[in-house]
Amino acid sequence: MSDRPVFYLETGRESELFAKAWEARLPLMLKGPTGCGKTRFVEYMAAKLGRQLITVSCNEDTTATDLLGRHLLIGGETQWTDGPVTRAVREGAILYLDEVAEARADAIVVIHSLTDHRRELFLDRTGETLHAPPEFMLVISYNPGYQRSMRELKPSTRQRFIGLGFGYPSTDIETRIVTGETEVDEKQARALVSIATKVRSLTELSLLESVSTRLLVDAAKLIRAGLPPRYAATVAIAEPLTDDPDALAAIKQVIELTL
């Protein structure tokens, strides 16, 4: 955790919702495309509520053992080591499972008992049952979308969470985010956001990955560091998105028209 306060700009009533969910001990699911600010939001809220944040980035090899903990053999003795989920429950932290849909089914099932009224975690290896303290909160994120229909969350899992949909912020707010993060001047921030809006209309046709707010901020940082704006936008927005020469040429056209 850095000393600098986390920069986050509200787009709706999400921080109010988060705080209320935390008070009511409800688990929360954040949905939204990559780079739209889900992780940043959780960091911001953890700081605001003064809780420790434990983040797990899930992938397809993430197993229940990875989450709960395992015995290690040390000098002929076995010793139990807590996994991140167990640690979060013990310490009453905010547990954030990023891209949870990527994890294997058995890994997702172990958190089920944490999500309902029981709020407990059963460790079959040690025979221990942990009760989550009131400060504990479970937050998961996943990236829905037409492109990734293979990795859906099962209804039995998703219906245990209240859902908060994240989209890309509106033009004005995104402009303020870009200026807030990088101190680039407003006109340039607005131009960057306008490029993003145009590229995102291709995303709707599923012709292209989307431009994240994160990439816009990167572009603005490069501009701020003194690179020519068009060049900065090309390397930070166009090139990371695609290798297709036609798409690259088209995006560069848009950049030239806008910056």
Binding site: T63, T65, R70, H71, L72, L73, T78, R125, Y146, Q147, R148, S149, M150, T197, K198, V199, S201, L202, E204, L205, S206, L207, L208, D246, A247, A249, A250, I251, Q253, V254, E256, L257, T258
Partner: protein
């Protein structure tokens, strides 16, 4: 009858061409820039600028756009340098897309949207000579910016009903503002009366043509040049067999061909998705299942010999895949130790419990427990030629090769073709049922012929229905098509695309994956909208098609 006059005319025509047109032509060809190589780029650009789905439509008419398409000419050669002509393409695309976005026709208003354009147009004007930029890109005619039109390929209409034999086919220019009339098929063609029309038609624009005898000889090549000058204001839909095919994209005005209830329905009813109402139309389409039994053993033999190399290569690829594996932990046997299981067993043992003996990681075959259904488009559009081969031949030969190897590696698979003629007549030809042996089914591919239109939705739904009756863990549909959903009772454009998408989503929810293939590069504009990424392939030639079908197996995320 008019032979010598015609010859004299052709002689003068050739002379004129050599003396006047050719020098002009030479000058133009030095600076000419074609649409084809930059079409995809301009298509993407248009979609970004408009910030909504926009199509690119090729037509020589100087019109900027309608409510959802930017019209671009096949080439620009008017400006004095290639760079300036290239720039014309870009500017017309940008302005067309802007007009679609803002629904405003006025040049000034468009320039306000993107001020950077003012400078660009000013830079371009000196290269255009006398020609006015705005007139050139068709920004004057904006009456049509908001009215919906229907698009369909003229070939679909010309190709109705029967297969042509010995036909010439040429690719024509795109046309806008076309009206379609239903031809009177029953009326016998009477001997032509010589009609004298020269007095009435003073200009080519005024001349709206007259009915010609429709069973002409195949003289298309001789008249190709004349046809390209043709403005198609009216076309006729008829069931007659064409002798020549003139293929061209058209935009139709006020076309309404919804069906009444005149023909008997029958068949298996399936719903169709209406994206405008966001609901299914229940029992809208009727699948007519047929089982094909005629076979052509000689064709099978020839094809097997002709493509032996491809089949061998595919076999090698699939064999490699079939042995490729996925890790499964805590198995009773396996080549690797599962470290977590070992530790758990240690713990159990030391604490006096019986240890679990499943200590290994097993590698399971990937192509395990799969049921696949290969669905091929046999509509008339597959009767056209890509890279000197008839698309239908390519498709069925590819299918033959893939079937040869699938038979060895996949327990259950079926092969079917589909075509349609309105929603009441959606034919589904089962070529190989799941239980049919491939050896007997493969020769049936040889008897396959092109027929009707491409209504993809009901065919997909029926294929899904057949697959749900299979017990395999993993179910997949392979769809081979030219990528444009189309049927002549308004199954086209956005409507068709959304219906296909809906059908696929429904399938995915029931655990049936769909993977699509096309050979035509033009499919790049429709495919991404219908199929999830990584769930389609567009390939340049048949050989690549077979390879990419096998590659699709590799990308299946199987659950076993």
């Amino acid at each position: 009858m008019f032979e010598w006059e015609e010859n004299v005319f052709l002689g003068f025509r050739a002379l004129y061409k050599r003396l006047v047109e050719s020098p002009r032509e030479r000058a133009a060809s030095a600076v000419r820039v074609h649409l084809a190589p930059r079409r995809q780029q301009l298509f993407l650009l248009a979609n970004m600028i408009a910030e909504k789905p926009v199509a690119v439509f090729e037509t020589p008419n100087a019109v900027l756009c309608d409510h959802e398409r930017v019209f671009l000419p096949p080439e620009f050669s008017l400006a004095s340098t290639p760079e300036a002509n290239e720039c014309l393409f870009q500017l017309k695309t940008i302005l067309g897309a802007l007009a679609i976005k803002t629904r405003v026709a006025d040049p000034k208003a468009l320039l306000d949207e993107i001020p950077a354009l003012v400078g660009r147009i000013a830079e371009l004007q000196p290269f255009l000579g006398e020609t006015n930029f705005w007139q050139l890109i068709g920004c004057a005619d904006f009456s049509r910016a908001n009215e919906p039109t229907h698009s369909k390929t003229l070939a679909d209409i010309l190709e109705a009903a029967t297969q042509p034999e010995n036909v010439t086919e040429i690719e024509g220019k795109g046309q806008t503002n076309v009206q379609v009339q239903l031809g009177d098929d029953d009326q016998p063609v009477e001997a032509e009366m010589p009609i004298h029309t020269f007095e009435k038609a003073e200009t080519l624009e005024e001349y709206s043509g007259l009915d010609r005898k429709t069973d002409d000889e195949d003289e298309l090549e001789d008249h190709a040049e004349a046809l390209n000058k043709l403005d198609m204001k009216h076309v006729v839909r008829t069931r007659e067999r064409p002798r020549s095919i003139y293929r061209s994209d058209i935009v139709m005005d006020g076309l309404s061909l919804d069906l009444g209830s005149d023909s008997p329905a029958g068949g298996i009813p399936y719903p169709e998705w209406d994206f405008k109402k966001q609901q299914h139309k229940p029992a809208w389409c009727h699948i007519q299942p047929r089982t094909q039994i005629e076979a052509d053993a000689a064709w099978a033999q020839t094809t097997a010999t002709k493509h032996r190399a491809i089949i061998l290569e595919l076999r090698k690829k699939l064999a490699a895949l079939a042995t490729q594996t996925q890790r499964a932990k805590r198995q009773p046997h396996g080549p690797e130790l599962d470290i977590d299981a070992v530790i758990a067993a240690q713990v159990a043992q030391r604490s006096g419990h019986a240890p679990d003996e499943r200590l290994y990681i097993q590698r399971q075959r990937r192509l395990h427990d799969v049921a696949a259904l290969v669905l091929m488009d046999q509509s008339f559009s597959t009767d056209s030629w890509v890279n000197d081969a008839r698309v239908l031949d390519t498709i069925r030969e590819t299918l033959f090769c893939v079937g040869e190897v699938m038979d060895e590696f996949i327990e259950t698979f079926a092969v079917a073709g589909f075509s349609s003629n309105t929603r009441r007549q959606c034919d589904f030809h089962l070529i190989k049922e799941f239980r049919d042996p491939w050896r007997t089914a493969r020769a049936r591919l040889g008897k396959l012929e092109a027929d009707g239109y491409t209504r993809i939705g009901p065919a997909l739904r029926h294929a899904q229905e057949l697959l749900t009756r299979q017990s395999a863990e993993n179910k997949v549909i392979f769809l081979l098509t030219d990528g444009r959903p189309c049927d002549y009772d308004r199954y086209e454009g956005e409507y068709g695309i959304r219906d296909v998408r809906k059908a696929i989503e429904t399938g995915t929810r029931h655990g049936i994956m769909t993977h699509a293939f096309a050979i035509e590069q033009r499919a790049r504009e429709h495919f991404p909208r219908m199929f999830a990424r990584q769930h389609y392939d567009i390939v340049p030639n048949p050989k690549a098609l077979a390879a990419s079908m096998c590659g699709a197996f590799a990308r299946l995320r199987l659950t076993s």
